[in-house]
């Protein structure tokens, strides 16, 4: 805080979605700039760190790569804790994975809220867009509308394999996280006068209160 010219931010970001939709691949592409068809299924959770320069500030993204089958476990509650943003990923070639998106979102929102009571910024990723767009074209889903209705701040067609839109999606998420963080800082201002309000209510000064 002392050095406003070079602030550092650390954000915990969740990457969730059904198994095999490409969560790990997206993270590897984003962080290590490569793609392999030989990734293994994630067990529990994996981590990756991405450092960004953002308006002359340093943003560190701690990416939590959560195993696709974990929605059924009760460990997600702990995994979600203190996250600031999330990607929910589905596979455009597999409609069932899109159906699961709302379930993941519900799971996330029910277990995690920001200090100001709002849900964390979440970006929807339609991954494997290099392999076809079955879900997007066949179902006639209006993605903008879907995002609005389900509380996503945005959506991107991505391909970890072809490196499409992953940086863009991450920038979008970071932008919203920073905005919501500012929002929270502002909403903390009324909090600081809360003791005064209580004092008025009780009709005692703080020293009396302490004496009691």
């Amino acid at each position: 805080m002392q050095n406003n010219h070079h602030k550092e931010h650390l954000y915990k970001i969740l990457v969730i979605g059904d198994l095999g939709v490409g969560k790990t691949s997206i993270i590897k592409r984003y962080v290590h700039h490569n793609f392999s068809p030989n990734y293994r299924a994630t067990i529990g959770v994996d981590f990756a760190l991405k450092v960004l320069n953002w308006d002359q500030e340093t943003v560190r993204l701690q990416l939590w790569d959560i195993a696709g089958q974990e929605r059924f476990g009760n460990m997600t509650r702990v995994y979600y804790r203190e996250a600031m943003g999330a990607f929910i990923v589905f596979d455009v070639t597999r409609p069932a994975s899109f159906e699961a998106v709302t379930k993941w979102k519900e799971d996330l929102d029910s277990k995690l809220t920001l200090a100001n009571g709002k849900h964390v910024a979440t970006v929807l990723l339609a991954n494997k867009c290099d392999q076809g767009r079955d879900v997007l074209t066949n179902n006639g889903i209006k993605m903008e509308q879907f995002c609005q209705e389900n509380g996503f701040v945005g959506w991107y067609e991505t391909s970890a394999k072809e490196n499409i839109n992953i940086d863009e999606a991450a920038n979008c998420l970071v932008k919203h996280i920073i905005a919501s963080e500012k929002d929270m800082l502002q909403s903390e201002v009324p909090d600081t006068i809360t003791p005064q309000l209580e004092k008025d209510k009780g009709g005692t000064c703080s020293s009396c209160f302490r004496a009691q």
Partner: protein, 352 residues
């Protein structure tokens, strides 16, 4: 194995119907039906009157040259003498997946489909009241056609299950579960496929052929344990056994034994929470300084970071050659020291 394979055929058919109206053209769709039909017919000669009427149009559909060879592969038996009786499902391990009708579902002429649709009609009169499942396929196929297909598939599955089950003395009244069962199988097959495809692909052993074996074993196991289903991590437990035994039947038996202990670690069992609690107590008592450090830095004393260690007996944390050594020690530990030997290892791992 025959049971889950038949189930798989049906599931694949259903997936096709549900997923893409474009692909679900009448010909490709019903070719599977016909194969399944014939297959089921063969399988269910013991107690099956429902499919008798199919016999008449059936010869007409035999112009598909590959049509018949699928049936023999399904019934080919490996001599079961060497296997203990409880390994019965193993006896058909040698039937390759490629012999399944599902791999040929696009090779049918439209004339064929004409014949088949007449089968469908004949079928419908007898089974109209059966499944009562409404059409699930969007688009191209007519709703009526779909419901018939679904009906017929269900009753076929029912027959299969009933035949399989009756041998083991289970009540044959499974008809009301078939849709749920299909859904469960479909879900599990998808999970298995996803994980088999990416099981230790960097290790030389896992060629396409060996992955196919891995899949067979996993499907057999999950079919026998559908109530638990496939959970991520199971492939990891099976993989080293495959590598060291290099034999489908042995690996299946060994995996089944291993899972008697390890399944407790999966979400349905309670062992994982016990492991966490034990770790917590151990660290708290033996290294309170470390424990306090954990608490201060965001409270990691739930010990979830040990999850993968316990779930896979450290398989992911080690190289293959070390996995064998460590697993052997873990397996003999209950006999020579303690059932909680893994805790000792975990403690070593977490030790600074």
């Amino acid at each position: 194995m025959r049971e889950w394979k038949a189930c798989e055929v049906i599931v694949k058919q259903r997936e096709k119907e549900m997923q893409s109206a474009i692909f679900a053209k009448l010909s490709s769709g019903s070719s599977i039906d016909s194969h399944v039909l014939r297959l089921v017919h063969r399988d269910s000669t013991l107690s099956n009157e429902v499919f008798m009427s199919v016999d008449e149009p059936d010869p007409g559909s035999q112009e598909t040259p590959s049509g018949e060879d699928s049936t023999p592969t399904m019934t080919t038996l490996v001599p079961p003498a060497a296997l203990p009786p409880e390994e019965r499902p193993l006896v058909e391990f040698d039937s390759p997946d490629s012999g399944l009708p599902s791999s040929r579902n696009y090779s049918v002429t439209s004339a064929h489909s004409q014949i088949l649709s007449s089968i469908d009609d004949g079928q419908s009169t007898e089974e109209e009241g059966g499944g009562g499942e409404e059409g699930r396929t969007p688009g191209v196929l007519g709703g009526r056609q779909d419901s018939l297909t679904e009906d017929r598939l269900c009753s076929q599955l029912d027959k299969l299950v009933t035949n399989g089950a009756s041998a083991e003395g289970i009540s044959p009244s499974l008809s009301s579960y078939t849709i749920e069962l299909l859904d469960t199988v479909a879900l599990n097959l998808h999970r298995i496929d996803k994980d088999v495809q990416r099981c230790d692909r960097n290790y030389y052993y896992f060629t396409t052929a060996n992955l196919e074996k891995l899949r067979n074993i996993m499907c057999s196991y999950v079919w026998e344990h559908l109530e638990m289903g496939y959970v991520q991590g199971m492939c990891d437990l099976l993989a080293p056994l495959m590598v060291i035994l290099d034999d489908e039947c042995l690996a299946y038996s060994c995996f089944t034994q291993l899972m008697k202990r390890m399944s407790q670690n999966f979400p349905n069992g309670g062992a994982m929470d016990t492991h966490f609690a034990n770790m917590r107590s151990l660290i708290q008592i033996l290294d309170s300084e470390l424990f306090e450090l954990m608490q201060q830095n965001g409270d990691y004393t739930h010990f979830y970071f040990c999850y993968r260690w316990f779930l896979l007996d450290f398989k992911r944390e080690l190289l293959y050659e070390d996995v064998f050594a460590v697993w052997e020690v873990i397996w003999v530990a209950p006999r020579i020291s303690s059932q909680h030997f893994v805790l000792f290892l975990a403690f070593q791992c977490s030790y600074r």
